[in-house]
Structure formats: structure tokens, C-alpha cells
């Protein structure tokens, strides 16, 4: 599943754009979801797959509720009805998964 992904997707993100062949629409790409401890989980998805699927799968895997987590790509919040294509995600790109933040005092 993760064989095709670069060893370090974060640092390899820019290089990926040039070195890897352009992924056709609908073709699977590797998406890395990385939590705040740096632990990665790789997903192989089609470019048109909604993030909803990734989010739910991640939550299932990590035993979290969906509303406790936020998924960020380049600082932007990913919405469940978006797809990698819409946010111009490339193969091996990293989604940051962060916990909900609350504050009052």
C-alpha cells in the first residue's frame, strides 16, 4: 500500500511533482495522513474519492470520532465532500490530522 509513496512524503512533496509521472484522473494515488505525533497512515485512493472516505477510514482505524479530528492540507481544512482532485493533491502528499482544540481559561 505504501510502497509507492516516498519515504519522507513531507520533504519529498515538491520533488514529487517533477519526478513522478502525472497521475491520470481516477488513477489511484497515495495519500498520507499524519497525526500530531508524526505517525503516518497511508491510503491508496482515487483522485476523485471524497475525503469523507479517508476520514472515516482513519477514524475507524484510530478509534476516533470524526468530529474530534480535523484534516488539514497546506493549512486548509479539508471538507468531507472534497476530493484530492479538487485540492490539487499529488501522489504522496501529506494530510495533517489534528485533534480538535478547545479553550476557555
Amino acid at each position: 500500500m505504501s510502497e509507492d509513496a516516498p519515504a519522507d512524503p513531507v520533504q519529498g512533496a515538491e520533488a514529487t511533482n517533477e519526478t513522478q509521472p502525472k497521475v491520470e484522473k481516477g488513477e489511484p494515488i497515495n495519500v498520507v495522513v499524519k497525526d500530531q505525533h508524526g505517525i503516518e497512515l497511508h491510503f491508496k485512493v482515487r483522485k476523485t474519492t471524497k475525503f469523507d472516505k479517508i476520514m472515516k477510514a482513519y477514524c475507524d482505524k484510530k478509534s476516533f470520532q470524526l468530529n474530534q479530528l480535523r484534516f488539514l492540507y497546506d493549512g486548509e481544512r479539508l471538507k468531507p465532500d472534497q476530493s484530492p482532485e479538487e485540492v490539487e493533491m499529488e501522489d504522496g502528499d501529506v494530510i495533517d490530522c489534528v485533534m480538535q482544540q478547545i479553550g476557555g481559561h
Binding site: D8, K34, G38, N67, L72, D74, E76, I102, G103, G104
Partner: protein, 591 residues
């Protein structure tokens, strides 16, 4: 059927059968190794035990005796039963006397055998979940009936099945038109329309908890996007986020981002950049972990072209705001003669909230890296305490509770964004800059209560978004619209900086009188102000600077309790009647 066969068999026969079974098991010739026979033995044992118990209690009703009187007792002791009687009525055969049959339990045949079983049956029959479970049970029943008809030896049937089976038989015999009512009553999630009285009761119940933390459950599955067309920085908000905006609750990141986006969209200057709630968190992470890279967060923006960069700071369940002022300006030779000085202002609604040194240290290091990334060809800039000092802004409205920090942070952000002068000089904080917002970065900047009122404003904001974009057929929609209407009729609402400024300008001139009473200090200070524009607020603010500092503690404590009660009751009107400056004046005068 097996159950009834056991029940109708005499005790002696049962004992005989049991012995026979045991003998057969001992022979070891049974095809299934004696499992089914053992089961039957166990069943017989249970039956015998029940009979013993029944005979001990001497309360068992003999078959054929008057049911109603004897049955009513134990059944009516079970709380919800009376409401459910109609179901029994409908389930029973119409040929039987209806009055009696109302009290006949669906498991009546089981009751004839003894007390213990009756109890179990009644519990089971009445606690089942209406529709879904009933259907499932119907399936079970078929199995149940099938096994019984075929008399599979040793098939142990749970009591629950027996009960529901008999119930199902009754349902199948006659129509059950009113059963939905009962089921509705026992399951709130039923989508079957209930009768009017029940609906009202439920509505009342809902209304009671309508502002509780769980009130959002009414609107579950509603979601909205702000701005509706999406785009960079858009925020998806769901009904679940509403749980964080109810009274006394901590504000979550989604609400923060939502409001920041709102402020950003309404900002009159493009010279401001707003980071989102996770930026600082990731920034701190990136310092500890080399893998985290934030360069893409600013791929479309050059921070050094901006006048103000807003950074929400979150740590340890607390929100505060850092504002990088004039990051593009460079301090040369001790900043002499420079108008724009880079600095990091830290606005914290708690005295001992976040550490300004820490926050500004993190931001300085980020700026240094960002400068190298964005301006690789330029001269290296040094971001140090001297060149870009961090400054905690002390005399600003602060929270007096333990849950409003997110709201204060947003209010700081909105008021700063709206009213920031072109140049913010960290060396002259607390002094009025020309053309700036009245009371900018001072005690009288806005009212504490105003920040607290942002909670309901935010709530209404989310309500409106959900009502506009959510499914219009959602059952919670009427209630949602009602809430929005209710809010719009409120007199006391959050005052945006614009509205606040308007209110300041049209304030009644009572403060003049108060200041006159207090002496020349105020007047002298007031006279320095340029006339008319923002006059009232300026008079008041200068007063705050001059007067409230003298007896800061006393007046502050006195007003604190007063304002707290105001905050809670939301009774006083937003305006100038009791805004901080005036209160300080009065407090001072009282002393």
C-alpha cells in the same frame, strides 16, 4: 409445543422424563452426544424450580380464575405500563371481553405457570424497542415457531422469545392500528407521527433543554460551509459544533476559524493576514519535529508585505492572540527615527495565560525562517528581542470567568482588525494614536460583556448558516428558524466594532458631568482631544488612563461583581450606560 408441553405436564411426569433423559445421556448413544438431551433436562429443572417457587409463594393464579383482579397488581407496579395498555387491548382477540383483556398480558399463558416467569415476560415484552426490534423479533418468532412445531429435541428457547412469540401471534391475529402510539411513546427516535398530546409533551421537554449542551442533537446531520461558495479558508461547520457555543462552554477551533474567516472577509484592509487556529499548534510542533513543514501554509502570501499578521495561540485549553505588527519593517540602528516598528503584541484575556516570551520566541523563529524562504536573495534579517520585541498588552478588557477566552480572543481580533491605526507603536501602547479606534488596546476598548455576547452572536451565526444551507426538510429546521427569529428580537446583542463605534459617538453626555465632578485632570486631558470625532469615547478613555489608575483595584473589584451579574442576566443594554470607563469614574467618585 415444547414450552407448553412442559408447562402442562404434571410434576411427576416431568420428573420421570428427566430421569429418562439422564439415563439416555448415560448410555452415550445419542447422536449429538447428549447435548440436546442435557438441554431438555436443564429446562425441566428450571420448570420444576419455578413450580416449587410458585407453590411457596402461594400467589400463583390458577388457570381460568379471574385474571383481571389478580393480574392488575403486579403489572401496574411497572411504571410505564398504563400507557401501553391500548397495545394489549388491540393485540388481544376482539371476541374476548375487552375490559378484561386490557389487563391480559401478551404472555398470559406463561403467567399461568408462575410468578417468576410472569415477571420476566412482562419485562421483556414491554421493554422491547418498537419498530426495528419488533421486526427482528418477528423473524425470531418464525424460528421459534418453526422449531417448536418440528419439536426439535433439546432446543432451548429463551423466555424472551416465548413471550414475543405469543405477542406476535396476537398481532398476527388482529390488526394493531394504535400500536404505533405505544411504540412511539417508548422510543423517541421513531419517525411515525405521534398523536398531538405526545408531540407537545416532547416539544416541551426539548424546549427545556434547548440551550443545554445537548440541544444540538435536534439539528444533527445539518452542515454548512462558510462562505457558501467555498474557497481558501472556508470552514465547514456542523450541528455538533454547536455544543461548544452554549453557555459556559469552551469555544472550539471550528468556531474560531469560522469567525476569523468572517472577520477576514469583512476586513477593510488587505494589509492584514489571518492565520487559523491550528497554525500556532503546528508551528510549535514543527519546532519539536523536523517533519512538520509549514512553508505551504503561506504559499500564496508574503507576510512581510502585510501590516498586521494575526496568530491565534492555543495551548493548555486557552486561547490568546498574537499580532505581528509591521513584520516587513526592519529596525536599523536602534530604530531611531522610524515610524513603523516591527513588534509582536500579545493579547491575552488572562493575566497568567500564555507566556508572551514563549509565544513571541516561537513567532520570531518562524519569521526568520519565513524571511529566508520568501526572500532568499535579500539580506539576512535578524529577528531578535531587540529587532522585533514581544510585548504583552496589559490594559485591555479581560475575562472574569473561566470559559470566555475564545470569545475575547475573537473580539480582540475583530476590534484590532477594524480599528488598528496605520502605525502601531509598541512603545506608546495605551496612548491614543491619531485616527485610531477609541480606546484602542486599552481598558475601554470594548466592554467585557460585549465579548461574552459574542457567544450568542456566534451561535446565531452558525444557526443561520445551518438554516440557509441545511436540508430544509430536516425535522429540526422549524426550531432552528425559531431560534434565529428569537435572537433577532433580542435587544442586547454583540456589538461589532462598527456598531460599537456608532454607539460611542451617539453616547449620552453623562460622562462629561462625571468627569467634571472629579476634577481638572479629566477635563484637561479631555480638552486635548480633537473635538467631535469619537469624542465621548476619547473623553472616557483618557479618563480611564488618568483616573482609574489611581484607584484601580477598588473600582475594578467593585465593578467586577456588577458586571458579572450583568453578563449573566443580559439585562443591561449595550450602549454607554455602564461601560467600563464610566463605571470606573463612578467607582472613583464613590470612593
Amino acid at each position: 409445543m415444547a414450552c407448553e408441553a412442559l408447562e402442562s405436564t404434571s410434576t411427576k411426569e416431568l420428573l420421570d422424563k428427566k430421569n429418562r433423559m439422564l439415563a439416555m445421556i448415560d448410555t452415550g448413544t445419542l447422536p449429538d452426544g447428549g447435548t440436546s438431551a442435557s438441554n431438555l433436562v436443564a429446562k425441566i429443572d428450571a420448570e420444576l424450580a419455578k413450580r416449587r417457587e410458585a407453590s411457596k409463594e402461594q400467589k400463583c393464579v390458577q388457570p381460568g380464575s379471574s385474571r383481571s383482579g389478580n393480574r392488575a397488581g403486579p403489572f401496574e407496579t411497572q411504571g410505564p405500563l398504563p400507557k401501553r395498555r391500548p397495545m394489549n387491548k388491540d393485540l388481544t382477540q376482539p371476541s374476548k371481553a375487552p375490559v378484561k383483556s386490557q389487563k391480559v398480558h401478551p404472555c398470559s399463558r406463561s403467567h399461568q405457570t408462575g410468578h417468576g416467569r410472569r415477571k420476566r415476560c412482562s419485562t421483556d415484552a414491554f421493554s422491547f424497542k418498537p419498530r426495528a426490534v419488533r421486526l427482528q423479533r418477528a423473524g425470531d418468532n418464525q424460528n421459534c415457531r418453526g422449531t417448536h412445531n418440528s419439536e426439535k429435541p433439546g432446543q432451548v428457547l429463551p423466555l424472551s422469545r416465548i413471550c414475543t412469540r405469543s405477542m406476535q401471534l396476537r398481532i398476527s391475529r388482529g390488526d394493531a392500528p394504535s400500536e404505533t402510539v405505544d411504540l412511539c411513546d417508548s422510543d423517541k427516535e421513531m419517525d411515525t407521527p405521534c398523536d398531538a398530546s405526545e408531540t407537545t409533551a416532547r416539544e416541551v421537554k426539548k424546549r427545556k433543554r434547548s440551550w443545554g449542551r445537548k440541544y444540538f442533537e435536534e439539528f444533527l446531520d445539518l452542515r454548512a460551509l462558510y462562505p457558501p461558495q467555498g474557497g481558501p479558508g472556508s470552514v465547514a461547520v456542523t450541528a455538533e459544533d454547536l455544543q461548544w457555543v452554549v453557555r459556559d462552554e469552551f469555544i472550539n477551533d471550528t468556531l474560531i476559524d469560522l469567525y476569523i474567516k468572517h472577520v477576514e472577509d469583512n476586513a477593510h484592509s488587505t494589509q492584514q493576514h489571518f492565520f487559523r487556529s491550528f497554525f500556532y499548534t503546528k508551528l510549535v510542533e514543527s519546532e519539536a519535529n523536523q517533519g512538520v513543514d509549514l512553508k505551504k501554509w503561506t504559499k500564496d502570501v508574503d507576510l512581510f508585505e502585510k501590516q498586521f499578521v494575526f496568530v491565534p495561540v492555543h495551548s493548555s485549553l486557552h486561547w490568546s492572540l498574537a499580532v505581528i505588527c509591521h513584520p516587513g519593517a526592519e529596525c536599523t540602528t536602534k530604530c531611531k527615527g522610524q515610524t513603523q516598528l516591527p513588534c509582536i503584541l500579545h493579547l491575552d484575556s488572562l493575566q497568567d495565560g500564555h507566556s508572551t516570551a514563549e509565544v513571541s520566541g516561537v513567532l520570531r523563529r518562524y519569521l526568520e525562517g519565513e524571511w529566508e524562504r520568501k526572500h532568499p536573495d535579500s539580506k539576512k534579517r535578524i529577528f531578535s528581542k531587540q529587532t522585533i520585541p514581544g510585548r504583552r498588552v496589559d490594559h485591555i478588557p479581560r475575562q472574569i470567568n473561566s470559559y470566555d477566552c475564545g470569545l475575547f480572543m475573537l473580539t480582540y481580533l475583530e476590534f484590532f482588525s477594524f480599528g488598528a491605526p496605520n502605525i502601531v507603536d509598541h512603545r506608546k501602547l495605551g496612548l491614543l494614536g491619531d485616527g485610531g479606534f477609541p480606546g484602542f488596546l486599552q481598558e475601554g476598548w470594548f466592554k467585557r460583556r460585549n465579548a461574552s455576547l459574542l457567544r450568542s452572536e456566534l451561535q446565531n451565526f452558525v444557526h443561520t448558516l445551518l438554516a440557509q444551507q441545511g436540508d430544509q426538510c430536516h425535522p429540526g429546521m422549524p426550531s432552528l428558524r425559531a431560534k434565529i427569529e428569537q435572537y433577532e428580537q433580542r435587544k442586547i446583542r454583540y456589538a461589532s466594532p462598527e456598531a460599537w463605534l456608532r454607539g460611542q459617538l451617539t453616547a449620552p453626555p453623562t460622562i462629561d458631568a462625571v468627569c467634571k465632578d472629579l476634577g481638572n485632570g479629566c477635563i484637561a486631558e479631555r480638552d486635548k482631544d480633537p473635538p467631535e470625532s469619537t469624542s465621548t469615547a476619547r473623553k472616557d478613555d483618557s479618563y480611564v488612563v488618568q483616573c482609574s489608575s489611581e484607584s484601580n483595584r477598588k473600582s475594578d473589584d467593585g465593578n467586577r461583581t456588577k458586571r458579572r451579574s450583568d453578563d449573566r442576566m443580559h439585562t443591561a443594554e449595550l450602549g454607554n450606560k455602564d461601560y467600563p470607563g464610566q463605571s470606573s469614574c463612578q467607582g472613583e467618585r464613590g470612593n
